[in-house]
Subunit: 154 residues, 2 copies
Amino acid sequence: MKLSSRSEYGLRAMLELARTYGSGPMALADIARAQGMSEGYLEQIIAPLRRAGLVLATRGVKGGYVLASAPSSVTAGQIIRALEGPLDLIECASEDSAEASCRRELGCGSRRLWIKLRDSILDVLDSTTLADLCPAAPIGETAKPSRVGALASE
Amino acid sequence: MKLSSRSEYGLRAMLELARTYGSGPMALADIARAQGMSEGYLEQIIAPLRRAGLVLATRGVKGGYVLASAPSSVTAGQIIRALEGPLDLIECASEDSAEASCRRELGCGSRRLWIKLRDSILDVLDSTTLADLCPAAPIGETAKPSRVGALASE
DNA sequence: TGGAATACCTACCAATCTACTAGGGATTAT
DNA sequence: ATAATCCCTAGTAGATTGGTAGGTATTCCA
């Protein structure tokens, strides 16, 4: 069970933008260099993030990308979904498909497991924000509603 | 983010064996027919399950496969691991590799998320047994230590 | 003793996905 | 005008997926 590097790269790019949040647009080439990834590939990865409204792009000489909202209000779930589509581990446990399309699940059911797994994954992804990952925040505590507003300290 | 059908097929095959647990060996062709999958493909999927010691095979005319232990003591985690190898979402968050090999994770860290995600997944997989999935057990409660011994009711 | 039924093994295959590279076009500050 | 930037499409080598095909080994049973 593996995660494609799209998500890894995408998340790292978003973390880079979170780290420099407030300092104006950052060029694609700079993000790629800072994170050690292929510029051309990152370009294809950041495109869906822009289409999903998670980053804003400005063209031209001093252009680049900025986060569309504060790091504390961008969740990992938004990023992963933008990059990999809806989280469906398996046909019958898709995030958005109606569960009506599933036969064979009368007695013994594998589906029960995939649903539990999916919910567990979504719980982590949707409760973790960029702000949770970026500053030296205490590990193990993420998305505390009482701490909204904590940004990157740089 | 998807799960390969290896895991789905493997789990379904194991659930089929759990359902008929106690009735002697079940032939590969019967498992495949009962679950509607390709016989040849299932053969390749059940092989690692046998090598991992999760099922026992007997050859010859009345041969087939049986679970190596009771459904209540076989976890989904054992099955998935046998089929997909150790759970490493990403290089730096592998289940068994030492975390020493990870650079770049000084300030902002995506790794923190993958570790949390991995732990969350492992928690679900390792706490769900075939017995939890097979009978009409109440959903949402799995691997209760006080209910060890509950088998398939057929 | 000789099928027949089963597990077991290896190789092959088409389609898809992954992680890129290449090359060009559109937009904007200077 | 020019250079820097975003934006788009197409190609591509290698891996993975989801199988199929065909043979070998073992065991029950008549």
